[in-house]
């Protein structure tokens, strides 16, 4: 006979104590526990896994215990960027110690093309090689070392041809992975003919390696039927489920994909986590053994795509005040060898070629160039940052041209009433918020007095030059592929009152699971400790969208809320009908772990656990699913017009730098950020996203330099040569605030705004400040070209062209 757990109904006291420690002003801030001098195990911490992180108990893919006879996979990669595979002799590989299985193209039972949206990504090379690092074969052995050593024994002959590495040339001769797209508004040609002044320039914007600390990894276990269970470090489990099933030639229901957490994703595990799961799954089915595939860092950097490098160009007409009247902008994205997500990425670059400014009558054209490099992919901002760079470059250029301070030029060009429609036809809601935000930051950061100080300093300093810049961000929130804007959640309440929530989003460090637990706890009136979240699994919530486009909390939070609200209403209805005291349904609510009905003297309270157990005994379902689809959004590709974004998130940053014009060395001395997250779901987590995004954006534009050999082989293939920011790159003064008192104008989750990607682009202020410092060498008359990343080398060479030599 089933018995119910005895409940401790006197836990309210403890909860009250916890409430006393709570601070913050967001709608969920009561779940942010204040810092006290000590931290005891079991006390609420901010990230749901924080204590597991610091004790080493949080398990990543390579930490999962696997059977002793599990196999380890290493990949054989093409050393050549472009050519034909003429011979692949793997006999010695098969004979090598520890080797159990070796597979190539011919061993794939089902689909061989694993392109995520469009075809073009063969799981193994059949004969045509498209990039250095492309996968030729896979070796499974009893240890990773044995597999890796065996790979080196392969005899590979390739008829090498000259690789195409220049995306501009590729675009010119229509070597494209997807058709060119254009967005056009007004008579931009007439504007260019009639404008007071015209300015044009071009800019190379470099790519970026994700450098998630946990590399690509998966463990695949064969099931007792024809399927597999896949543990993977992955932002898009449903897509991996689909591709694994297709590669094996089995139904989707035979594949279960599980993601507990990632050691960083940043977009690099949206599409590019799947190939390894597919390869491991084939081997798992062939051998009947558990298979682990983890890419060593160097290989990870060679085989996976990166942020797209862009070659951007603008030609804009503006009036005497520096206000843009119109013109044209072209963006060439270097997509690498295949489409991957490049169509949407170049689209997003186009959607952000205006950043926060009205472009007037304009044509924006986006080219998707095909080159012989790894297929470039999603990375925080998804093309948006690269698109923004060209208009921010133009702002500085116009400022130098007109002799007006760059901030003034930027403010004059901001979207405003009457000039609030983008080049793709969406009206910028809340554009006054952007003005308010910039005004506040301008004041708080003392921009104008510091501008004077900087000018004064530069006038008397020959070698060291200071630069200052404020740049805004306006970032559109929604997947531009409409169908991805949906999410599901599954909520279970157990008879002890504990709650389990599952949803389609994945945790990669952004605090999504923490926020989702907060949503459920809030809606059910429970303490955070009563709600648990575990791994994201395709057998709990199906057909999910990737955790991407900053949408994780917006979509999945709404789905979780939907489930929680439905369950709550069901329980309240039950309570109103069931309890003999005759509870008033109206005004009935769940709070502080209680069902509360009535007010004052007629108030009745029933503890949550009692409610749940009574509901169970009365055969009321304690499980619920939730669903959400973002309303209103649409985009017509044929016309290049629509409303692709549910809303925009805003922010701005002021950066001050010091540049040594003799060596190109520089320091970021001070950064002030004001960022808009609507009503914050969790201020601590949101600040973490803003700071982390800024530093990552700064790294993209400063020290993170990808270099390929003239044969197309990546040379910056490890942390020794690819330099992401480290501790000392944290600005000495770093003031970060969330804009308060401005809820989202759209009905988003508690009127919050997405925060994953937008702050990344605040890093542009550092690049603009470097240009400002360099421009001082010409007494602010020249707007120096500064391609990115603005390494000390690029800064030195730019300075050298402008500075007065003392020798």
């Amino acid at each position: 006979m089933r018995t119910l757990t005895r409940l401790d109904t006197d836990s309210r006291h403890a909860r009250r104590e916890l409430d006393d420690q709570i601070k913050g002003d967001g709608p969920l801030a009561r779940h942010t526990v204040a810092n006290h001098g000590q931290c005891h195990a079991g006390q609420s911490s901010v990230h749901e896994s924080a204590e597991k992180h610091v004790t080493g108990k949080a398990a990543y893919i390579d930490d999962l215990a696997i059977p002793a006879d599990a196999l380890h996979v290493a990949l054989g990669l093409s050393p050549v960027a472009y050519g034909t595979l003429t011979r692949l002799n793997l006999e010695t590989v098969r004979q090598a110690p520890g080797v159990i299985d070796v597979i190539t193209f011919g061993d794939v039972p089902g689909h061989t093309d694993i392109g995520p949206v469009f075809p073009g990504d063969p799981i193994f090379v059949e004969s045509d090689i498209s990039y250095a690092g492309q996968c030729l074969f896979a070796v499974a052995a009893t240890s990773l070392q044995a597999a890796r050593r065996a790979v080196k024994l392969a005899i590979i002959d390739i008829d090498e041809r000259s690789a195409r590495l220049d995306p501009v040339a590729a675009a010119r001769c229509e070597e494209l992975v997807r058709p060119t797209h254009t967005q056009e508004r007004g008579d931009w040609q007439s504007v260019l003919q009639q404008a007071d002044q015209i300015i044009e320039n071009d800019l190379f914007v470099g790519g970026q390696e994700h450098f998630y600390l946990e590399g690509q990894a998966c463990v695949v276990l064969p099931t007792e039927d024809e399927g597999v269970i896949v543990h993977t470090s992955n932002q898009h489990p449903s897509e991996t489920q689909k591709l694994v099933a297709e590669v094996l030639g089995i139904a989707f229901h035979a594949v279960t994909v599980e993601v507990r957490r990632m050691g960083g994703g940043f977009g690099g595990k949206e599409t590019q986590a799947s190939p390894w799961a597919c390869i491991a799954a084939i081997i798992a089915r062939r051998t009947g053994k558990a298979v682990r595939l983890r890419l060593p860092r160097r290989e990870d950097m060679h085989v996976t795509g990166k942020r797209h490098p862009f070659h951007n160009r603008y030609r804009l007409g503006f009036d005497a005040h520096g206000v843009i009247q119109g013109g044209e902008i072209s963006l060439i994205g270097n997509c690498g060898y295949s489409p991957d997500l490049s169509d949407a990425i170049v689209d997003r670059a186009m959607f952000h070629a205006d950043n926060a400014y009205s472009l007037g009558d304009v044509r924006v054209t986006g080219y998707r160039a095909r080159t012989h490099t790894a297929s470039n992919t999603a990375f925080r901002g998804f093309g948006g940052p690269q698109g923004m760079m060209i208009i921010e470059a133009a702002m500085d250029d116009i400022a130098r041209h007109t002799g007006v301070d760059p901030l003034t030029v930027r403010k004059r060009n901001l979207y405003r009433e009457g000039r609030d429609v983008t080049h793709y036809g969406q009206t910028v809601d809340q554009c006054q918020l952007l003005h308010n935000l910039i005004d506040k930051l301008e004041t708080d950061s003392e921009y104008w007095s510091r501008r004077e100080t900087v000018r004064h300093f530069n006038a008397s300093s020959t070698i060291i030059k200071k630069g200052l810049a404020l740049t805004p961000v306006k970032f559109g929130i929604s997947f531009t592929a409409q169908h991805l804007n949906q999410a599901g959640a599954l909520l279970h309440v157990y008879t002890d009152g504990s709650v389990m929530i599952s949803h389609g989003g994945t945790e990669m460090g952004q605090g999504l699971h923490t926020k989702i637990c907060q949503v459920v706890a809030l809606e059910l009136g429970l303490d955070l400790s009563q709600v648990r979240i575990t791994a994201t699994r395709t057998d709990k919530v199906p057909n999910t969208s990737p955790t991407a486009a900053s949408s994780g909390a917006d979509l999945n939070g709404m789905a979780a809320r939907d489930a929680a609200c439905k369950l709550r209403e069901r329980l309240l209805d039950f309570a109103a009908a069931h309890f003999e005291t005759g509870l008033d349904r109206e005004g009935m609510r769940l709070e502080d772990g209680m069902l509360v009905a009535g007010l004052g003297e007629s108030e009745h309270r029933i503890p949550w656990g009692e409610l749940v157990q009574t509901a169970y005994l009365n055969r009321i379902s304690l499980s619920e699913k939730g669903f959400y689809a973002t309303p209103l959004i649409h985009y017509n590709r044929a016309s290049g017009q629509g409303r692709p974004f549910y809303y925009y998130a805003f922010g701005a940053a002021v950066s001050e730098v010091s540049v040594d014009t003799l060596t190109g060395e520089y320091l970021v001395d001070r950064v002030d950020i004001l960022h808009d997250v609507g009503n914050s779901l969790n201020p601590a987590i949101d600040i973490g996203q803003v700071e982390g995004g800024f530093i990552q954006g700064m790294g993209w534009l400063t020290t993170e330099e990808l270099k390929w050999s003239d044969k197309g082989v990546l040379m910056s293939d490890g942390p020794a040569t690819y330099k992401i920011p480290t501790f000392g790159d944290l600005p000495a003064t770093f003031n970060v605030s969330l804009l308060e008192g401005h809820p989202n104008s759209m009905a988003s989750l508690y009127r919050s705004k997405a925060v994953g990607e937008p702050p990344f682009m605040l890093g542009i202020s550092v690049w603009s400040a470097l240009r400002d410092a360099l421009s001082s060498l010409s007494d602010y008359r020249v707007s120096p070209r500064l391609d990115t990343p603005a390494t000390p080398e690029r800064v030195l060479l730019a300075a050298q062209a402008l500075r007065v030599k003392t020798l």
Binding site: C39, S49, V54, G56, D62, I687, P719, F727, G728
Partner: protein
């Protein structure tokens, strides 16, 4: 092969692994202890940071190291602390508690390494209540890459952990037990696979003569990449770190010059006090050489014997006029460091020889020394160009000018023509212009991932200009002091 006996988080362990097994592999694959992560397997990201201490040292202290490039066999007799060992009686270590409270983890993958670096920082500062300076924080943390947080909350945690309740000295006591000394056993004749730690220079030179193909290892910060990146088996390893004579710094005289003999096995961290006291420019460079984890392992002898054209210390040592001592079973010889480097990765070291010591002459009080390193990132990066300059002024004229560069040729090399152009000159723009012109005859650098030839040439010329400005406009700030002095 001998067992490794060591303490893991306070408990004695015995293991039996191949010579080229790293501590990280030992932990993760042999012992199934997975809190310590692999991020790069090249000592650059710090995710694998663990702490080791030598219980036999006069004042045992935990230091942070990269487990991915440290041989497991060097654990012999040591105490190893990993992230799993910090919790005591269910209580988090202050480094852990502060990271939780300050939101110092997001994805959490770098966190165990960050925590271990914070742990060693914390344990090294139990005597003081002063918060660490920003330089100390950088020194402690620049070897731990975090891709999520942007480091601000980690900085807060580092500043806050000291104010957290002191958990008594239990961590210290519980984790520094003493092992019975186990004398190393020399490899048998024709042994194909060994990790041998000779105890004396004599023993070292003997085993070197017997096994000329064996690899010498001290910190292994470069050698070990052959194992982790090229997958080269390192079957015969001779570990010099047990040779006391190679681990000491002694004041001495050499050919009438006062100075110091530095044992080839002296780590950068061990060198710090001497450089701080007598070679501040060199000391500042040390702050930018690798990370704390690397400086705790890498040695001066290794940096020289490795003969990389972009090693950080050789140009400085060339400018300082260092002498290197090579020892073999038959003889000990000394030669000027510039005679040691022959060609790309080729040196005067014979197969039977080891680098035993390096002599650095004391800087005359009138001699100025500048060390200027240019790299893409300020911390924990390899030089694109490194210039080292020594000179003195006599009656306003430059004397004894020595200029050496790294990154400008196949070897670390003196700029003899530029030196000549400046020797005996007054501080004039013309003289330095000539030195710049001479520099382009001294060197023809190459393009690589760290910089173009054009940049290197220009940057080197600009360092001559910086030298000129330093001398001609002493009041003016002509460099950013976070980079150089």
């Amino acid at each position: 092969m001998a067992n490794i006996e060591f303490f893991l988080n306070g408990n004695p362990r015995q293991c039996h692994v191949a010579p080229d097994t790293s501590i990280l592999t030992l932990l993760r694959e042999h012992l199934g202890i997975t809190g310590t992560k692999e991020g790069c397997a090249s000592g650059d990201c710090g995710a694998c940071t663990v702490a080791i201490a030598d219980p036999d040292a006069p004042t045992p202290a935990y230091i942070s190291i990269n487990a991915c490039i440290t041989p497991a066999h060097q654990l012999q007799g040591k105490s190893l602390m990993t992230v799993e060992g910090l919790e005591l009686n269910g209580q988090l270590h202050p480094a852990q508690a502060a990271m939780v409270e300050c939101h110092g983890s997001q994805c959490g993958f770098c966190t165990p390494g960050v925590v271990m670096s914070l742990f060693t920082l914390h344990e090294s500062r139990t005597e003081t209540s002063e918060p660490p300076t920003s330089e100390q924080l950088e020194a402690a943390l620049s070897g731990n890459l975090c891709r999520c947080t942007g480091y601000r909350p980690i900085r807060d945690a580092a500043l806050q952990m000291q104010s957290l309740a002191q958990p008594s000295a239990l961590w210290h006591e519980a984790s520094l037990p003493v092992l019975s000394a186990q004398p190393p056993v020399a490899p048998d004749d024709n042994a194909e696979c060994f990790f041998y730690q000779p105890a004396s220079l004599e023993d070292l030179t003997h085993v070197r003569a017997r096994y000329p193909d064996a690899r010498l290892i001290a910190g292994g910060t470069d050698l070990w990449l052959e194992a982790t990146q090229q997958l080269t088996p390192l079957n015969q390893l001779i570990d010099i770190t047990g040779v006391k004579a190679l681990s000491v710094i002694e004041t001495a005289q050499l050919e009438g010059q006062e100075g110091w003999w530095i044992g080839a096995g002296v780590t950068y961290s061990q060198l710090e006090p001497l450089l701080n006291a007598h070679f501040p420019a060199f000391a500042h460079l040390l702050h930018r050489l690798g990370s704390r984890q690397i400086r705790n392992r890498g040695t001066l002898g290794g940096n020289i014997a490795n003969a990389s054209p972009i090693g950080d210390t050789p140009p400085v040592l060339l400018a300082l006029g260092a002498v290197v001592e090579l020892a073999s079973i038959d003889q000990t010889r000394q030669l000027s460091l510039e005679d040691f480097f022959l060609d790309y990765k080729r040196t005067a070291l014979a197969a039977s020889e080891v680098v035993s010591r390096v002599f650095i002459p004391r800087l005359d009080e009138h001699v100025k020394c500048h060390v200027w390193k240019l790299s893409k990132r300020r911390e924990d990066d390899i030089s694109a160009v490194l210039g080292a300059f020594t000179y003195r002024l006599e009656n306003e004229r430059l004397r004894d000018v020595r200029i050496a560069f790294g990154g400008m040729a196949a070897i670390p090399k003196r700029a003899l023509k530029a030196e000549q152009a400046l020797e005996g000159q007054l501080i004039t723009a013309d003289g330095f212009r000539q030195a710049q012109a001479a520099l382009s005859k001294d060197f023809s650098p190459m393009d690589d991932v760290r910089g173009s030839a054009r940049y290197r040439q220009q940057a080197a010329a600009n360092l001559i200009e910086r030298l000129y400005l330093t001398l001609s406009s002493p009041g003016q700030e002509v460099m950013l002091h976070a980079y150089a002095h």
